[in-house]
Amino acid sequence: MVRYLAKACFALLALSVVGVASSAMAAPRTDLNAGIRLEPPHLDPSAGAAAAIGEIVYANLFEGLTRMAPDGAIVPGLAESWTVSADGKTYTFTLRKGVTFHDGAPFDANVAKFTLDRARAADSVNPQKGLFEPIDAVEVVDPATLKVTLKRPTGAFLFNLAWPAAVMVSPQSAADNKTKPVGTGPFKFERWAKGSQIDLVRNPTYWGKTPALNKISFKIIGDPAAAYAAMMAGDLDAYPIFPANENIPQFQKDPRFTVKIGNTEGKTIVALNNARKPFDDIRVRRALAYGIDRKAVIEGATMGLAKPIGSHYAPQDAGYVDLTGKYPYDPEKAKALLKEAGVSNLKAKLVLPPPDYARRGGEIVAAQLKKIGVDVELVPVEWAQWLSDVFRGKNYDMTIISHVEPMDLDIYARDDYYFNYNNPDYKALYTELAATSDPDKRKALIAKAQEKLADDSVNVFMFLLPKTGVWNAKLDGLWENAPLPVNDFTAVRWRD
């Protein structure tokens, strides 16, 4: 009897599924359920650093003067073209005409000036205020022309304007963007069910190409097991930055899914406190670089999906030089260097923030360093504690961390940064780089900077975090790489 009942239930279920399937076959779907790991605190990228903000609103809802293409190139956004003066200090932007915000407010040079002035104001809470620091003055020439004068030539200025923190906001709505974001993008904000999902819908008055999708639902599913279940059950169509590498092989075997292992900008390093003994000794830092087997760490911490790096620069970025062979795994050489430096029985604390790469990587690094006579104590901490103790307090020996900001060679030139590197030669090199606009000269200087960092073995450079994207095999147009931590869904479409 029970069996018959079960059969009847199955038949009913099958009928309803067929019904749904046939109605869906008429036209390709226009909705998308995408998984994200963390819920953003709010939706204003000009007031918060959380990557989750950019992952939702960048390019979809908010647009900047320039924007980043999937390959990391800088392309026109709300500025359709620009000219740079011969001295590299004056940028004149020609803005797109007929652009309006989702609330109907027009976008013009006055709005652009408002946005840039707001970001660099004294009371600004922009998380990337440094991007706007080179700006000396912003002038409205006419409604479609904006002139920005810089204090000094800044080679990365157009790149800076493409960041989520530099998107254009309207004076009318800027104050409410945290909960009711109003941008110029192809999608507008519809609903935020706190703790659950954020919905964007197509903007019918978009100035550019109409996107194929009608609606995007970002579902917040942080637990790796729950994310796996949601993909497998079909509750999610895409998880562009999947949180658990160990599930990737299962998705790869399943024809329902497309799996793309791409690059992020996450340079994962064992950061060393260069001001603290004995890490102030270059021989000790080099010994650590020789004593860590990157391959084993990559295997254990990222399931073998990551690419090794030899300096603080991502392989896909302009001017990269391959320095991964500079310190091959060589425990004997490491021991000899430690001996030469007069260091024996070295005890050190390795601070580990929550991500898997750090916690798992830390175990392996500790085991490897033990072999060269360094006794490592692992100290797991939360993000909040990492930020206050390590990053601000600089109270640490070693820590494993991924620096996700693209092309951030500048951090080694900062006076008060937690590596405590403070090297005048590097600072001079970086100042020269920052003031250079010519692409070829920049590449040469970027190469020099990488070599200097590797040579000084400032930190132990380990690997580039992979971007593990999983989505329905019928979806096109998702980004394989993550030159910025964003999910630009403007080109995503379902195949028939």
């Binding site: 959380a50 440094g130 599913i221 059950a233 509750d235 206050s388």
Partner: protein, 315 residues
């Protein structure tokens, strides 16, 4: 139930709440980590940090902040979330409509399963059924609810696709919302039901061996009648105690279960708020939960008195 008894209980309740508020405030303040720093991340400049701290009111002394918070609580004002920039009351309200139904459904499921099963096992002591129930509940006590939850998802969401794997569409989605709570409620209820079944069984067995039950039997009642009319009510005292404790466990369990099922409930709110150092939210929500649990225990105390008149004089 004398008024004096109630007044004493009420005073104890207030003192417990006051103590709880001080402990929560001090603990949260001692916790390392700066909320402004977490919001602004690693690229923030010192002047930006200072601007945000001032905006959040973090630059004032601990006394001022405690007085403001506790005073606000008394007026029913929970403050404003530092990260979400909305009133905490609104956040809690949004989350309670998920967590409270979830906890209540699980509690009902627990009772529906545990009381009859425990009584049934006790009535058939040492039979095969009894042994089987004891063995199964032993297993139920040992299984962690998050593992059980994952097994449920694997079976009902991935293999059979009968129920959603997680998430919550909101109550305006009607039946789909109720469907979304089925698996989480079962995952929460079954381990609790296993505990309660065992308590019910042993408590009943104990009362069944009491003199008054023997007397009742001697008067000619059958074992079943004696159990229903005399033993059952007496056996409920320890069950009530455990149930009061279990409600606290249920609320704590929602933190785990809500994460496994990605439900936007109170438990996940606390979890996120702790990670983001949204002190205002953590303090207020924990305070609400403590108030809730203390009140539940207060109600359980009153329920004892109702079930057992002898306990009214004590306390």
């Amino acid at each position: 139930m004398s008024l004096l008894w109630l007044a004493r209980r009420g005073l104890g309740l207030c003192l417990a709440l006051l103590a709880a508020s001080v402990i929560i405030f001090v603990l949260m303040d001692l916790l390392p980590g700066d909320p402004a720093e977490i919001m602004l991340g690693t690229s923030a400049r010192p002047d930006t940090l200072a601007a945000l701290r001032a905006e959040m009111g973090l630059d004032r002394s601990a006394w001022v902040r405690y007085a403001e918070w506790a005073g606000g609580l008394l007026r029913g004002d929970f403050g404003k979330s530092q990260t979400y920039a909305v009133p905490v009351a609104e956040l809690v309200g949004e989350r309670l409509v998920v967590t409270l139904p979830l906890a209540l459904i699980s509690l009902c499921l627990t009772l529906i399963i545990a009381l009859p099963l425990g009584a049934w096992a006790a009535a058939r002591r040492n039979s095969t059924t009894d042994t089987a129930i004891v063995a199964i509940t032993q297993l139920g006590v040992a299984i962690p609810n998050f593992w059980f939850a994952m097994m449920l998802v694997l079976l009902f969401a991935i293999s059979w696709r009968w129920l959603p794997s997680g998430g919550f569409p909101g109550w305006d989605a009607g039946p789909r919302a109720a469907l979304a709570l089925i698996l989480p409620a079962i995952a929460l209820a079954l381990p609790q039901a296993a505990i309660l079944t065992r308590v019910m069984r042993s408590s009943l067995l104990e009362t069944l061996s009491e003199d008054y039950v023997r007397t009742a039997r001697a008067k000619g009642l059958t074992r079943g009648e004696a159990l229903r009319r005399h033993a059952f009510r007496n056996a409920l005292i320890p069950v009530l105690t455990i149930l009061g404790l279990q409600f606290s466990f249920l609320i704590a369990g929602t933190v785990v279960i809500e994460n496994v099922f990605s439900l936007p409930g109170l438990g996940r709110l606390i979890f996120q708020a702790i990670n983001q150092r949204d002190l205002v939210v953590v303090r207020s929500v924990v305070m609400v939960l403590i108030a809730f649990i203390i009140t539940v225990n207060f109600v359980v105390d009153i329920a004892y008195a109702l079930v057992d008149p002898r306990l009214r004089g004590r306390g």
